[in-house]
């Protein structure tokens, strides 16, 4: 196995776009190529996450992206693991370079859903569940996380206000992220007064439907050093799964795949969670950030919600979570999200995160969840100097 480095990153603004998925992805990719300063012809292949490509009546997206980049003879693969598609693309790019098959790989993720009406988008998102039993029994995507929230409240005595504090903090962070979808300060009253989507979750507990794309160029260390003296190293890239349907799980307050992927990543990197300076986690709903903070071992089981209320997850605290604004405020272009988390971690480690910079950030972790944890990808990146 070779050490793998990130040498270039690119991202579109998240939000509503008039560009198609191929244009969004090619745009982010071109940003990453320019950032790396690499001759694009040295890229061996492309791996892209995309969950709802058929929403644009277009399959086989990979060659369209490569052709737009003038890389028409280079092979491309689109991977789908619901909301973890971008993280999965990164993981497979990592393996391709670590295994010595390629010296430079373009990874990324893209989604375009804003042209769908709310009803259609709600239906598409439910396809990420075990649809025979969950979506097909009337459960929306927020509904799945809402059943988890109610279980969590019952077991640990946490409140809707605790969850609201997660949303308020992430919106605060996104104020300093010019690429974020929602740049707007929100209050406790805003969250508590927002429409119930799936009780106990409200509109402001949920991430928005976003368009967007993110990309990164991965190289082996030797190739990376041609472009930079300070490459960002991938210390770990781990994946794990969970039973898809919630009804077959013994505990609804935790995602088994997240616990497993987190532990595997820390073992790979030979690090403890205390040695990680910040965390970009998959907060598709506020309860998901709380579960992530416990599954990854940042806080003891049952104390994550209280930790959010006590401000222990803000930038400047011991466990900064989602300095980018997270899915909640930075936005959630489904297939792009996992790649976008990597982009944020690299920015932070380079010290280029502006008003949301985590001071002296040396190591960052990404946690990307497909649906309710059927797929989970955890990566750890560092600037070894």
């Amino acid at each position: 196995m070779r050490d793998v480095c990130v040498v270039g990153i690119g991202s579109t603004k998240y939000g509503k776009s008039d560009l198609s998925a191929r244009e969004l992805m090619a745009s982010a990719a071109q940003g990453a190529i320019a950032d790396a300063g690499i001759d694009p012809d040295r890229i061996a292949s492309g791996i892209f996450g995309n969950a709802f490509g058929v929403a644009e009546k277009q399959g086989h997206l990979g060659p369209l992206i490569m052709t737009a980049l003038g890389l028409d003879t280079k092979p491309a693969t689109v991977v789908e693991t619901a909301c973890a598609s971008g993280g999965t693309a990164f993981h497979h790019g990592y393996r391709e370079v670590a295994g010595g098959f390629s010296d430079a790989v373009l990874i990324g993720g893209v989604e375009r859903v804003s042209m769908l009406d709310t009803l259609t988008a709600t239906t598409y998102f439910a396809y990420g569940s075990d649809f025979t039993y969950e979506g097909g029994t009337g459960c929306s995507f927020p509904g799945l996380y809402a059943t988890m929230a109610r279980s969590y409240f019952q077991r640990y005595g946490a409140t809707e206000q605790d969850l609201a504090n997660v949303a308020i903090k992430n919106h605060e962070n996104a104020l300093h992220n010019p690429l974020a979808h929602l740049q707007k300060r929100i209050t406790m009253e805003d969250v508590m007064g927002s429409m119930k989507v799936a009780d106990p979750l409200k509109l402001y507990d949920a991430c928005p439907f976003s368009d967007g794309a993110a990309a990164a160029i991965l190289c082996d260390e030797k190739t990376a050093r041609e472009f930079t003296d300070t490459p960002i190293f991938v210390e770990a890239s781990a994946r794990a799964g969970s039973i898809a349907a919630l009804h077959d799980r013994p505990d609804l307050t935790s995602l088994p795949g997240a616990v497993l992927a987190g532990q595997t990543a820390l073992q790979q990197a030979k690090l403890t969670v205390d040695q990680i300076d910040f965390f970009e986690v998959h907060d598709c709903f506020t309860i998901a950030e709380v579960a992530a903070s416990e599954d990854l071992g940042l806080f003891k089981k049952g104390t994550g919600a209280k930790a959010a209320t006590d401000g222990l997850t803000r930038i400047g605290s011991k466990r900064p979570i989602n300095p980018s604004g997270g899915l909640k405020a930075k936005g959630h272009p489904v297939g792009a999200t996992g790649a976008g988390q990597v982009v944020e971690v690299v920015k932070q480690l380079r010290g280029e995160a502006g008003g949301r910079q985590v001071e002296n950030a040396r190591r960052g972790l990404t946690h990307n969840v497909g649906a309710t944890g059927g797929t989970v990808v955890v990566n750890i990146l560092s600037r070894r100097s």
């Binding site: 927020p142 009780d199 919630l246």
Partner: protein, 129 residues
């Protein structure tokens, strides 16, 4: 390997839907460890045995957790508000179901006893007992 057809599941999803329509709650049972499941199982996720059979479960159960759906996807557009619930069958596994006419959490205490009722809608519909 010779031209041997791969084994089919002991019950198809289509057969399960037909049974549900007739009012029978049927799923999968592991003969080795006794694990019951409602989702397709060719190998037991608990004890890893391949000795799986089809079994009829009870229609009554208890609400483990739920949400009140105010916004729903296409097939359930005209049913809102209703509850999507995770229900432990009295004699059988935990299943996903929906309960009509639930507008607020007060309408459905945790631990509510419910019973499966065959319905024209997809998925399993339960009513309060």
């Amino acid at each position: 390997m010779a031209d041997v057809e791969s084994p089919r599941p002991v019950m198809s999803l289509k057969e399960q839907r037909e049974e549900l329509r007739n009012g029978n709650v049927v799923g999968y049972h592991c003969k080795a460890c006794g694990e019951d499941r409602f989702s397709p199982m060719l190998r037991c996720p608990k004890c890893k045995s391949g000795k799986v059979e089809r079994r009829t479960f009870s229609k009554t159960g208890t609400v483990v957790t739920y949400t009140v759906q105010s916004v729903a996807s296409e097939q359930f557009l005209n049913e809102t508000p209703f509850a999507f619930a995770i229900i432990k069958l009295d004699d059988g596994p935990t299943v996903s179901g929906w309960i009509p006419w639930i507008a607020k959490p007060k309408d459905l205490p945790m631990g509510q006893k419910v019973e499966y009722v065959a319905s024209y809608k997809p998925g399993m519909m339960f009513e309060k007992r």
